[in-house]
């Protein structure tokens, strides 16, 4: 290593991994993936990993916290993903998969536009 730029390249590459270990100060967007038995059985793991990978790839660990949560009781709608942004109402996405996760990441988490078509509100609850 001969330059400061080389040092910074290593830092930037590693920073997201370390940011993941920062204490949550409540200022990050929380993405909670339901990972109870019902969630896992209906395929929540690829969803969780998709979010976790995308956030780190795009260097957003300092802004978005991807975490798991338990069963919220709507098992037939799993995998469920909740997006909690400070100061905004909670958005709940249902029946997710890795592809939809990517869409939610691009549209909602990056551009700030909630994807109505996957939310609980648009589903027909009987």
């Amino acid at each position: 290593m001969k330059t400061l730029e080389e040092l910074r390249a290593i830092r930037d590459k590693m920073k997201n991994q370390i940011d993941l270990r920062e204490e949550d100060k409540g200022d990050r967007i929380r993405v909670q993936v339901g990972m109870a038995t019902c969630g896992i059985a209906s395929g929540a793991r690829p969803v969780l990993n998709k979010f976790a990978d995308l956030v780190q790839e795009k260097g957003l660990s300092g802004k978005i916290l991807v975490t798991q949560t338990g069963c919220i009781g709507l098992c037939q709608y799993e995998p469920i993903v909740e997006v909690l942004e400070p100061g905004k109402p909670k958005i709940t996405y249902v029946k997710m998969d890795a592809g939809k996760a990517e869409e939610v990441f691009e549209q909602h988490l990056v551009r700030g536009q909630a994807l109505g078509k996957y939310t609980l509100a648009t589903q027909d609850i009987k």
């Binding site: 001969k2 290593i10 991994q17 370390i18 949550d24 976790a52």
Partner: protein, 594 residues
Amino acid sequence: MYRSYVLVCGGTGCTSSGSLKIIERMKDEIKRVGLQDEVNVVETGCHGLCALGPIVVVYPEGTFYSLVKVEDVPEIVEEHLLKGRPVKRLIYDEESSIGPKSLTDTDFFKKQYRIALRNCGVINPEKIDEYIARDGYEALGKVLTSMKPQEVIDIITKSGLRGRGGAGFPTGKKWQFCANVPSDIKYVCCNADEGDPGAFMDRSVLEGDPHAVLEAMTIAGYAIGSHQGYIYVRAEYPIAVKRLQIAIDQAREYNLLGKDIFGSGFDFDIELRLGAGAFVCGEETALMTSIEGKRGEPRPRPPFPAVKGLFGQPSILNNVETWANVCQIILRGSDWFSAIGTEKSKGTKVFALGGKIHNTGLVEIPMGTTLREIIEDIGGGIPNGKKFKAAQTGGPSGGCIPAEKMDIPIDYDNLISIGSMMGSGGLIVLDEDNCMVDIAKFFLTFTVGESCGKCTPCRIGTKRMLEILEKITKGKGTMDDLKKLEDLAYYIKDNALCGLGQTAPNPVLSTMRYFKDEYLAHIQDKHCPAGVCKALLSYNIDPNKCKGCTLCAKNCPADAISGTVRNPHVIDQSKCVKCGTCMDKCRFGAIYKK
């Protein structure tokens, strides 16, 4: 890429309570459930809550598990990592009524301000990349590419940083002295010979963040014009030694040590030297003599090491914790640092809490925090509802702070004004069950054993003082002894060759200053108020409470208790060895000490 990190403490405290086995089992279990590509297990440095180790923290949630056993690992993996349900029974719970907390929510961490310990418990100390991710070597890069040596010294001087090893000498001034001496060969040394009983912050920094010390030493090398550094670390710290060597190797590999660092033309390298465990080798001249391969004995100053130090060349020596502050000051500026702390003591200080306190461990607090805040808020108070009597700071060179001085803001000058000293930061909490004469005796026994024997006041003087203390604790002391003890103390203070001898009488002087009544009780009433000094107490049986169950007599190792069934028993004082077994065994509270 990992979605979650499991940080397991690999400091000496947690390692000795089995954290390495936990890491191994954790990796096995994670593999068993097929999460090895999603969850990464990281061995970190100390978090500071050593009493609650082994400690495991799971990110991104920051869930803080304490007192984890190997058997708990499968549950953490299956419940938390696989299903996202934190294992509530293992979560550290300060009040036990409030729900699960994350690490920084606890009172223990809330009042702390971490500069020297900023990376401890966060990064894997054996990976230089993780240190770099936390702005590591950025300060060195900044210094080598954009600053002149004098500018570096000016920043450190202006920040007000003072030596964290004990005496509190201004670091910038020390560097300036050395920089002013013209010489082709100079040395930068790091004092990692942490010898005060009860202090372990330097070990923690070396184990948790070794690169911070290497980087700071390289910066100092540039500032004073040196090309070689030595870290004198005690061999009793095997984990620290291992991680330092790994860190040095990695830094060399990245060319952050070696020739032409950052293409600036500046060369610097660091080597380790292991200490063999002599306390006196923490004294600067003795330490340098020891690095030279000679017997570790101090020599008179001047000449000061800044003029004539290691191998007869101008040298600087700073303590590990001092080094750990340097890079942050360079990066964040002297104004940032000098805004923390009190008028004459800037920044933070790490204390090793020990003795009669709930949260045994390491805390870093801004200078000027009161002892009450440290003990009651951060330390969690005194266990078993006992009363606080005193705090001992500065190890065998320091003194006691009594309860009435608890609200004094802690900094270098305040501690000296009340007869103690900052020392390296050991803080031992004493409660009503501690005898102050016995405490003074404990520290003096340590100094007598560690005196190198070179100068007479220390070699013979401390021995005589110890003999007088022993006489007092056996109930044979006279008022004349007390006077002699004090005279001797001041004589040694004035005449000993090095800091070890000059400060050795401090524990005696400060306990005599604040707890004279205890000395008097031992001498005049032949009584130890705390019930510690064995020669002065006797165990007795209250005949009104004794039911004659014979349990005490059966358990007495010296056959000192006699009596018949259902009749009150009696202790034969001539046979009693005062072990206290009878008192522990008695179900009726019939046995008392006096």
